[in-house]
Amino acid sequence: MSDAACLEVQGITKRFGGLIANEDVSFTVNQGEILSIIGPNGAGKSTLFNCITGFYRPNAGRIFFRGKDITQYSAHKICKLGVARTFQVVQVISDMTVLENVMTGTYLRTYNRRDVREKAEEILRFTGLYEKRDTLGPDLTIADKKRLEVSMALGTQPTLLMLDEAMAGLTPVELREMMALIRKIRENGVTLIIVEHVMEAVMELSDRVVVINSGRKIVEGVPAEIVRNPEVIQAYLGDRYHA
């Protein structure tokens, strides 16, 4: 295991009854990089996410986070170790304001109420939601909700941030903003794994891409290679993508 490895996934298999959602998936995420996971709908990306973050127990395989075997850890413990995530369907706390939502995340590592508040405000400035800090969570637009979810995850001060379709449903302008935010997060030294169908974002952001299909990893490589891979085109991108 290299020093640079932030996360190492070894031979993960996850079954739901007879259905194999992940089969023997292995890959490594290096410290400070952005790794994208792409693949057809139902390929098992979210499942993989859930296995890594402790929401599912894989049937086989092991997961190491910064050298530590976290395969059997529960979700909240993994978060405490420094892995934060967002959900494919946005989740925010509906009876809290934006600020309070972020404070909830921030409480993970900070105890004093005032410090928590300051830190949360700082994060909101960073993510550009500061102006809306007193808005109730559900009153935000989708774009802002996604941004809030990222802010909440940042509140837990992760070293690895995992985003499940954080850019779905954004307008091109919003997409640009989100991409900028993700770059900024990376610049702060956070490693990122993103699952995304928005290829623009995948192409521009990722250092490396892992492609899975029917639960198995089919290829891994830099974005430019991936989009030219016939298997990927056939299974995922479709012919029109080049157009």
Partner: protein, 321 residues
């Protein structure tokens, strides 16, 4: 939340002063008794609120904690001559531990499953106490009469000291719950209430925080139980462990406004005097009309003012500004 305007602070101070002055102005045991019952149910409502209002764990089993508090201090006093104040703390701890013991199997239960589980748990406790010789079984326990003093937690000639003790308990409970809810615990409980998934994703061990909530709630409720035992000086399973007590607590919190600090207090100030005085006025007719009115009130408030009376008051307050 967590911040008070000067006007609010002034209001709370005025109310508190009025409550402190009450026994000096209004003499008579019955009004004092009604106030004590109001404080007691308000306290239990506040404790329940931490579970039901903030963490959406709708417990219908608070009577179990109430009973454990009452029984523990009484048994300690009767069999081992332990001072009731120490009994109060031991009872609270025992109730908290019981809460934890039941909280673990129930920690994955949501919504109604939790509600039913809490009923089942409280019924088991009731049935066991009802048959357990050591705690007097169905016959109950009469407390030994100690000389009247604060140290003995017992007064025979007047109810006024009970009044102040219960008022102090209530204020203490409100403070504890307020403190918890404006700090990490409150944030975490609300996150858990929103979604277990979300909470886990934010590093919140929902099992642990739900347990904390149960334990604090159980401790405070058990305190009320010890108070009850010292106040009535007799207890049996039928008077401290039954479902109607749990239900009363829920109603107090719900009608006042669950999930708000003062809601249960408002609920209690309406419901308790209402039920005490309707019993006095209508109860002797033996027709149950008082209970029918009570039922109608509950239906109307929950159907037409589902945020509780506190919700109504804040709405009015906002409009006034």
């Amino acid at each position: 939340m967590g911040k008070f305007t000067p006007r609010q602070i002034a209001l709370y101070v005025v109310v508190l002063v009025a409550l402190i002055a009450f026994p000096l102005v209004v003499k008579g045991t019955f009004p004092t008794h009604v106030m004590i019952m109001f404080f007691m149910f308000a306290m239990m409502g506040v404790a329940w609120n931490l579970l039901g209002g903030y963490a959406a764990m709708f417990s219908f089993g608070q009577a179990a904690f109430f009973g454990i508090g009452a029984y523990t201090s009484t048994i300690l006093l009767m069999n081992y001559h332990v001072n009731p104040w120490i009994g109060l703390v031991v009872g609270g701890i025992l109730a908290a531990l019981t809460g934890a013991a039941i909280g673990i199997p129930c920690s994955n239960l949501r919504g109604h499953y939790f509600a039913i589980a809490s009923i089942a748990f409280a019924e088991i406790v009731r049935i066991c106490f009802n048959n357990w010789k050591f705690v007097g079984a169905a016959e109950g326990l009469s407390l030994p009469l100690l000389p009247e003093s604060l140290g003995n937690f017992m007064f025979h000639s007047t109810k006024v000291p009970y009044y102040y003790i219960m008022l102090a308990f209530l204020v203490l409970s409100i403070f504890i719950c307020w403190y918890i809810t404006v700090n990490r615990g409150g944030f975490y409980l609300r996150a858990i209430k929103e979604s277990h998934e979300l909470a886990k994703g934010m590093g919140i061990s929902f099992v642990r925080y739900r347990l904390y909530a149960i334990m604090v709630s159980a401790f405070l409720t058990a305190m009320a139980g010890t108070f009850y035992a010292q106040y009535i000086l007799y207890l049996d399973p039928e008077s401290v462990l039954i479902l109607p007590i749990s239900v009363q607590v829920v109603l107090v919190a719900m009608l006042g406004g669950a999930g708000t600090i003062m809601g249960p207090v408002i609920g209690a100030v309406i419901l308790i005097p209402l039920s005490e005085y309707t019993r006095v006025w209508l109860g002797t007719k033996g027709t149950g009309v008082d209970m029918m009115l009570y039922g109608v009130l509950i239906m109307l408030i929950s159907a037409y003012q589902p945020k509780g009376v506190w919700g109504l008051l804040t709405a009015i307050g906002k409009r006034a500004k």
